[in-house]
């Protein structure tokens, strides 16, 4: 698969591109050919056996009659009418009915070499007559000759045959019918008999290859004279609706962008994404190793989408729908009602079931049918098992682009192999991803816990924090993690840390009350001391007062007795008065 190419937009048809075209109605082909096959000219469709040539031609004819009102004539050289109508019935076309309605004519031309002897000059006028009859009987505008090269097996005179073929192509052009001629792929040339030298207007090559046991079908427009066209190999698939070609449209990075935000279904994750969740129409990558909870995050997103009344398409490549529903119910994400309401579509298939293009094509188809608002693919890493790494990458590129161009929010889940660098996605799509959420398991102290962080998220102020991501019976919860010298602490270590902190806090509280109590006690003691001192002081004071009173009393008694003695001796009073003055 080649590099992305830029296709001229169909919305702006080039003014120079005036070649009239007949739309095929084959999904995707008209985009690549910018309108269809050259009208009124033959187109060669070649490829190896089993590549879908007959079907391609038949679908061109049937869709022409059904959708564009152009009747068709099918000239089958290999299959009978019965075989053909059986083959196309599996694709939802009723060939017999269309033949009965006169919209399609089928003529089986059988050329058996063993029955034929050539004896001189001849021409293929019989073929022309039958062709003319087939065209006229239904008024055909489209003709298929499948496989013209069978004629080469029927006739030995190659010179006549080649001359007649040249005449046939001229005749077809003169009749003005849009024709498809199929041819078997040959060695070193497009067709075994070199039919490409007669058909010079448009050559389409179909290819069916098997690599690593996975088959893919490719289509390439080898040449389209007078018109621009996509030149890459385009993958195509054949399913119950016919052929689907996958055009690589709008790889021009000119998608519409939305500023609308949609919730991830996990409030705290929304908070990490700047408060409002993802942008609508953005592409989100959830990556992580096995068992980190990627599917749980996607299921939450699916749930949130349906809760908003929007449609969500969930492509599970690892679990069956029933298993997914059961597992998600265990974390209280009940998706079953949404499935019942038709808002959620769960699709499960093994990635190795088809080639990688088939997956892309079927996703295209499902998206076109279901018209979801959100597409979740879980996981994308499995695609690399369906093809090579480069193919898987190119496919995702196309897918992301396709979804973006339709404003569909896409969530991709990626399983990263253990031991890889966290930031390394094995499918290098990171540059296309707008929001990248990384889940990692943190193994510490004999425990495995989950951490989540937003690696990048374009256009929003997102958190740089690692959160611990706990899956509980009630759903996903995000917790803070402890960042210590030994790294982040999660799980029971986080719980232990919490316990420790709680214990320390309690101890501190105890200590504080104890201290307070001691202080109170000391104060009480001091107060008691103060009281006893005061009592002592009062006692001393009492004592001194009593002593003073005693002294006074004694002095007064002495004085009295002295006066009495003086009186007895008859001494002068001045001495008494003198002593009194002192």
């Amino acid at each position: 698969m080649g590099k992305p190419e830029t296709l001229p937009s169909r919305a702006r048809p080039s003014a120079r591109d005036t070649l009239p075209k007949a739309p095929t109605g084959i999904s995707g082909l008209d985009e690549i050919t910018l309108g269809g096959l050259p009208r009124g000219r033959p187109t060669l469709v070649c490829g190896a056996a089993g590549c879908g040539k007959t079907l391609f031609a038949m679908e061109f004819l049937l869709r022409g009659a059904e959708q564009f009102g152009e009747h068709g004539a099918f000239i089958a050289f290999e299959e009978t009418e019965q075989d053909l109508s059986q083959n196309v019935r599996s694709l939802g076309f009723d060939l017999e009915k269309m033949v009965a309605q006169g919209k399609i004519s089928v003529d089986h031309i059988h050329v058996e070499r063993s029955e034929i002897e050539e004896t001189g000059e001849f021409d293929l006028e019989g073929l022309f007559l039958r062709l003319g009859l087939a065209i006229d009987s239904v008024g055909a505008k489209r003709v298929v000759l499948d496989t013209l090269e069978s004629l080469f097996g029927g006739f030995s005179n190659q010179a006549i045959l080649r001359a007649e073929l040249r005449r046939l192509f001229r005749w077809l052009k003169d009749r003005g019918v849009t024709a498809i001629i199929t041819g078997e792929r040959g060695e070193g040339q497009l067709t075994r008999q070199g039919l490409e030298e007669y058909v010079s207007d448009c050559v389409i090559l179909l290819d069916h290859r098997v690599r690593e046991q996975v088959s893919t079908r490719r289509l390439r427009i080898v040449k389209y004279r007078g018109s621009t066209h996509g030149t890459n190999e385009y993958p195509f698939l054949i399913d119950e609706d016919g052929i689907h070609v996958l055009p690589l449209t709008s790889l021009q990075l000119n998608h519409q962008v939305s500023t609308e935000r949609i919730s991830s279904g996990i409030p705290r994750l929304d908070h990490m994404l700047g408060g409002d969740g993802y942008y609508r129409g953005s592409s989100i990558l959830i990556s992580g190793t096995a068992g980190t909870g990627k599917t749980s995050i996607s299921a939450h997103f699916a749930d949130a989408t349906c809760r908003r009344g929007e449609r969500c398409m969930y492509l599970a490549f690892e679990e069956s729908p029933a298993q997914l529903l059961r597992n998600m119910r265990s974390i209280s994400v009940d998706l079953a009602p949404w499935v019942k309401k038709g808002l959620l579509r769960l699709e499960s298939s093994r990635p190795t079931l088809h080639g990688i293009e088939m997956h892309l094509a079927s996703i295209h188809k499902m998206v076109n049918d279901f018209k979801p608002h959100v597409v979740i693919i879980d996981p994308i890493s499995n695609f690399s098992t369906a093809g090579t790494m480069a193919e898987a990458e190119a496919m995702l590129l196309r897918l992301i682009d396709f979804l973006k161009s339709r404003q569909i929010t896409a969530m991709f889940v990626n399983l990263t192999a253990g031991g890889n660098a966290w930031e390394k996605t094995d499918v290098g799509v990171s540059s296309l991803i707008d929001t990248w959420i990384l889940l990692r398991d943190i193994e510490l102290a004999g425990e495995r816990n989950r951490g989540i962080y937003v690696l990048k998220s374009r256009g929003m102020k997102h958190s740089n924090q690692i959160r611990e991501f706990v899956i509980t019976a009630e759903g996903i919860r995000l917790e803070d993690v402890y960042v210590g010298p030994e790294g982040v602490l999660t799980g029971s270590m986080r719980a232990a840390q919490e316990d420790r902190e709680r214990a320390a806090m309690q101890a501190q509280q105890h200590e504080a009350t104890r201290k307070q109590r001691e202080l109170a006690r000391r104060r009480a003691a001091l107060e008691a001391q103060i009281a006893s001192l005061r009592a002592e002081f009062e006692a001393v004071e009492d004592e001194s007062r009593i002593a003073a009173e005693l002294q006074k009393a004694r002095e007064a008694q002495l004085d009295q007795s002295r006066t009495a003695a003086a009186a007895r001796r008859g001494a002068d009073t001045p001495a008494a008065s003198k002593g009194k003055r002192k």
Partner: protein, 102 residues
């Protein structure tokens, strides 16, 4: 010329049908050559039907006619087809199984 007559075939009736498309030189040559071969080898027990596909194009489908002119040996069985203007008499005889490949 060594022609080998099949004992049983000698009594058989030959039914031949020649498809042409208009009066082209090739068609006329084929008619002339066919009559000559029949007269020489199957005198009296052959029937030739000439069908002009320009007039009846639908008949081309029945005998799976692609090349013109085509001679179809309807009887005796099996059906044989010989294309061309029968100018190569040797090959025409081989084709009609009137002569074995030498």
């Amino acid at each position: 010329m060594s022609t080998r007559r099949n004992g049983a075939a000698a009594e058989e009736k030959w039914e031949l049908r020649l498809y042409t498309a208009g009066q082209t030189p090739k068609s006329l040559a084929a008619i002339k050559n066919l009559k000559k071969v029949c007269e020489e080898h199957l005198a009296g027990r052959y029937e030739i039907e000439i069908i002009d596909l320009l007039k009846n194009p639908r008949l081309a489908k029945d005998d799976q006619i692609v090349a013109i002119p085509t001679l179809v040996r309807k009887l005796p069985d099996p059906v044989r087809k010989i294309i061309g203007d029968l100018s190569d008499t040797e090959r025409a005889l081989v084709g009609l199984q009137l002569k074995q490949v030498s």
